[in-house]
Symmetry: C2
Subunit: 394 residues, 2 copies
Amino acid sequence: MPGSLHSAERAQLVRDFLRQQELRAWIAWRPDELIMLSGYATFWGASVLLYLADSDPVLFIPVLEPRDHIPAGLIVREYPWGDLKCSDPFAVLTEGVRSETKKAGVAPGQVGMLRSAARTSLPIQAAEQIPLPESFCETFSALAAQPDPKKENAFLNLYLQKTPEEVRAIRLANHVAGIGVQSFRDSVSPSISEAEVAAAVETAIQKQIGQDGIFYARGWAMVQSGPNSADSGRFNRSSGRRLQNGDLVVLELATCVNGYWSDLTRMEAVGELKPQLAELLRVVSEGQQAAIAMVQPGVAAGEVDAAARDVIARHGLSEYFTHHTGHHVGFRYHDPGFGLMPGRTEKLAPGMVVTIEPGAYVPEYGGGARIEDDVLVTDSGNEILSRESRTAVS
Amino acid sequence: MPGSLHSAERAQLVRDFLRQQELRAWIAWRPDELIMLSGYATFWGASVLLYLADSDPVLFIPVLEPRDHIPAGLIVREYPWGDLKCSDPFAVLTEGVRSETKKAGVAPGQVGMLRSAARTSLPIQAAEQIPLPESFCETFSALAAQPDPKKENAFLNLYLQKTPEEVRAIRLANHVAGIGVQSFRDSVSPSISEAEVAAAVETAIQKQIGQDGIFYARGWAMVQSGPNSADSGRFNRSSGRRLQNGDLVVLELATCVNGYWSDLTRMEAVGELKPQLAELLRVVSEGQQAAIAMVQPGVAAGEVDAAARDVIARHGLSEYFTHHTGHHVGFRYHDPGFGLMPGRTEKLAPGMVVTIEPGAYVPEYGGGARIEDDVLVTDSGNEILSRESRTAVS
């Protein structure tokens, strides 16, 4: 329902941030900034949100943008992107933002913004990177203060804590992802190709559009089987390889629903596993459970990582667990913020949502395994948001 | 086959460009730059290609990158992105590029680069925007000359002409897209949802992985039916709406195969169309055929546009054709370069590949239509690269 995600809690967090940083406005344009600040899922990725400390946020959208899912509480202004008669739509956009900041009595030195879209989420039109032009950051920089790493980091900290409405949206993304996982479990069998399994998962996800207030659902499923699963700690890419009895099969799955993200990894076996591979899967599963058991307020990120790493080391597989144990998730496939990795001292707090995803990849065994869930830190412990797609092992 | 796409023709074009612009190197990092310069489809989107005027290009890849499809003829250097033990992989990358330019005796003032990823293509890991960090352009800017719009435009002109090897790759993308279109034609029937049709198209495309040297194939299918088709000139998004008899159905389809792109639009009808909608489809089809007939060397972009626009105007639908007639395509969903739109005087030349995609969207009729093909300019006229997925009408 339009507007239902633009919560009072989030507005309070943003206004507190602005006050603490002595800012009176923020110019947001990255797709995940827009979701985080306002619950608005940009279609074209060409929208700009002027978030003001003392009045309602103003959303600038291209005239081509669909308007049926813009949250309530945003003042909407159109600019003529996609209009054949306008040769410089971004000049109109810039002038609009300038005019609104001026009207609000805000000086450029009181306006913050981020200047890079690196690793941010995709808009609903997900077949290319966002279209804000070469000169965008330079042009907008004139409307904002000089880059200030302290303020930028403080802004990125806004991603860490999810409000109850946002948790509901991330829960829905995990529910839809779980429907994809069911399709994975149903598809895995000898002679189907990795790419065919991936297509089945993505289909199950996309078909949810139209259900339960879902206006957008897309999955990116990456399936690796047998020897390919041993690469799944380095990259995730479905090939034409056909599954065989005895394979371990990894599903890495990014899912976006209405602009909110789930990030899961699930495992299946084709027929009977060799003892080494069965043991590998058990060890990773035990490591993941140990890490999840550590997730609660006040625990340091490095302690959660160590819980998984210790289990895997105890079974002699230490060198095969080559990556972090987890990261924040929800506003994008990989949210910014501290990793759950060795030595990190930042503490978990209620409202955080993190992935827990230890793995071990052993070419000599002919396989690799990772299990990944999205876990909410609650007041008293944690809740696995992706629990419906878990089995006892994976 | 690795290396087969890194052609002598392309190398000659790039070296001619460097000489004419008095540059001795180019730092490329956007996914479509990498494809265009070397035929290399980046997996993570974290690779940098140092293209040198006087020696072999050097490709910097993260240690996590798959190496099975890196074209021959590139010197490959790894950097430790994704390695838990390295806290600043991009510093290692930067130092590597600096060292190679120095070794080649090239000064920063002789190095060109583009500084924005806006609207560029996605890497194979297509679930987020590319990961080069906030500071990437600033850091690399120290290795390159000051931004120079004249040189940047000259570089973008390299996208316009496709070599025979590149045309073969774009033809393959259109062949795979055509398999998706067949699935669209087979799926359209009463009561299936738009999203379900879109999922069927994307599945057909992804299943081609493993065939004919295809290591990567992904489609982004967007289906709009009945009244939703009237929005298809503004945006393309599949909803949960179920198809009904009498609907016009639009398929907008982006397809990437091994890093090369096809961009198509196809139409279907569910049962019998009302006379107005049938006429709308006929007019758009006639307009598209008129524009395609104009595609040949020496014809101005505006003349191709006018051919379609005149047909649509003659039938009184002028105001409903709200966008350009086409754009360049192949290295990304929308290549840079001149549009086929009113008033553009740039001339078509052999080796260019352009979309021809007039449309008309008439809410009063309850529908909209667009037909889009990818057309190669040949020495004597043109060739429709997407012809296998055309019918007599659409």
